[in-house]
Amino acid sequence: MSTMNTNIRSFLFAGLIVLSAIGSSVCAQGEVERATDLGQLGKWTEAKQVLEPVMASSAHQSSGRSWFVMGFIHKELHKSQGEFGADAPERLAAVSCFQRAIQLGLNATDRRMAIEALDFLARSYFREAIAMVEGFTWGSTTDILSLYGRYEALELSLNPQKDLSMQRSDLNRYLGQAHAMLLESPSTRPAAELQAIFQEAIDHYRAALEGNENDYATQYNLAITLYNEGVRKLKGIGHETSMFELMEIQDGCITLFEQSLAPMQAAHAQQPNRLETLKGLMTLHYALSQKDESDRYRAQIEKILGNR
């Protein structure tokens, strides 16, 4: 008799647990559906208020679908709030939710959509990085690289085999040129800042070449940035510059001109009839007091122009 009672009690207890689990799951499903409905109406904040507080429950914690819907809510809020920056919280949360949803398991349709959403978020980091390069200001490199880093990490999480070296190289080239443009624009920046900007420009161009050493534009722009820096220093000489300083500055300029020669020659090797590189080489050799070499390139330019 007592054995029978124990069995009944166990059965009832087990049933209670099953019912409670079913109830909890049904309840969780209901919250997801309510959030989904609100999302359909564009009420993302309200959708978040419904789902976010209950996400800590075990039913939601283990539900890929819940994380999937939560991911969309964060993504839409990210967009509607106009968030920006590598650490924009809604975007970070959206990424994390989609990644978790995929990890927990989704049906085929949801999985594809989650991947597409992650791809969109990755690209949004990239676009933002590029937009920051377009409106570049001194000191924003760290933020740009952080955004690009998020893009790269996300893309690689979606496709570990993806080769992103060209994108990285392009970004570095854009950054090199953005810094070079700061040097070319009139400013009252202190000399140390100008030197730091110049060094950043050179470093970015060189980093760009590591990923794509045969890029004409990078080679040419690197050469020009080195050369122009030499000219800028030369122009800085004034009546108060001593003979010793004059010699020292000239040495520094010549070193920059000499450094400029290799990338200019590399660019020329790729497009031997391009006038800008021929002019570059003519000018560089002239600046290096190598008249014969300079004249040789001048003759080539005249020949090309004569044939037009």
Partner: protein, 205 residues
């Protein structure tokens, strides 16, 4: 730029409508997104365009700086240290322009600096006394210039392989890609020109 994206709400995408029609529009949106990104990257032409090379005449800038130092660091006989200090450039308008731009308002000691450009060495005859003459001529023409100022305290500066032999007191030379100069101190002494120690110490000869 408004970005259209896969799974974005702008087109009713997301987990909210999953019918076939919307699935199709999804693909359209994807294509649009790709084009927009391409267009966006294509709009980066300012970064793809090559930078502009500074067109300044670097050799003339360097020479202008040297010429100013040669004018300022040497000594002329007392009777020539009154009135304007005249620096004549023969046949190098670029050098003249740089000198004028940078040093025209400066003084050499108590003398105001006058920078003159002559197209031809022949025009020197009509010119008043010049403290410094710079010419890129060589050979006979340079010798002629030198003869025309014989026994006068004129600092004749050249940029020619035979500069010193042809009568220049200072001649620019290329050493390890740099512009340096050589001096004929003996001739300078004969002309009562006192070449400054700093100028002498940096000469290659």
């Amino acid at each position: 730029m408004r970005v259209v994206e896969p799974g974005g709400s702008e087109h009713g995408q997301g987990p909210f409508r999953l019918n076939d029609l919307l699935r199709a529009s999804f693909l359209v949106v994807l294509c649009c997104f790709g084009s927009l990104v391409d267009a966006h990257l294509g709009a980066q032409t300012q970064f793809v365009e090559p930078s502009a090379m500074d067109d300044s005449d670097t050799r003339s800038i360097t020479k202008a700086n040297f010429l100013f130092h040669f004018a300022a660091s040497n000594e002329w006989p007392a009777e020539f240290m009154e009135g304007p200090f005249r620096l004549v450039i023969i046949g190098n308008p670029s050098l003249h322009a740089i000198l004028s731009d940078k040093y025209a308002m400066k003084a050499i000691g108590a003398q105001s600096l006058e920078i003159v450009l002559l197209d031809d060495a022949e025009l020197l005859k009509k010119e008043p006394f010049a403290h410094v003459i710079y010419s890129e001529e060589s050979g006979e023409t340079l010798q002629k210039i030198s003869k025309s100022i014989r026994d006068q305290p004129v600092l004749l500066i050249s940029d020619a392989a035979d500069g010193l032999q042809s009568g220049a007191l200072i001649n620019f030379v290329a050493v390890n890609n740099r512009i340096r100069y050589e001096i004929n101190s003996e001739e300078a002494t004969k002309r009562e020109l006192l070449i400054g120690n700093r100028i002498l110490s940096w000469a290659v000869k």
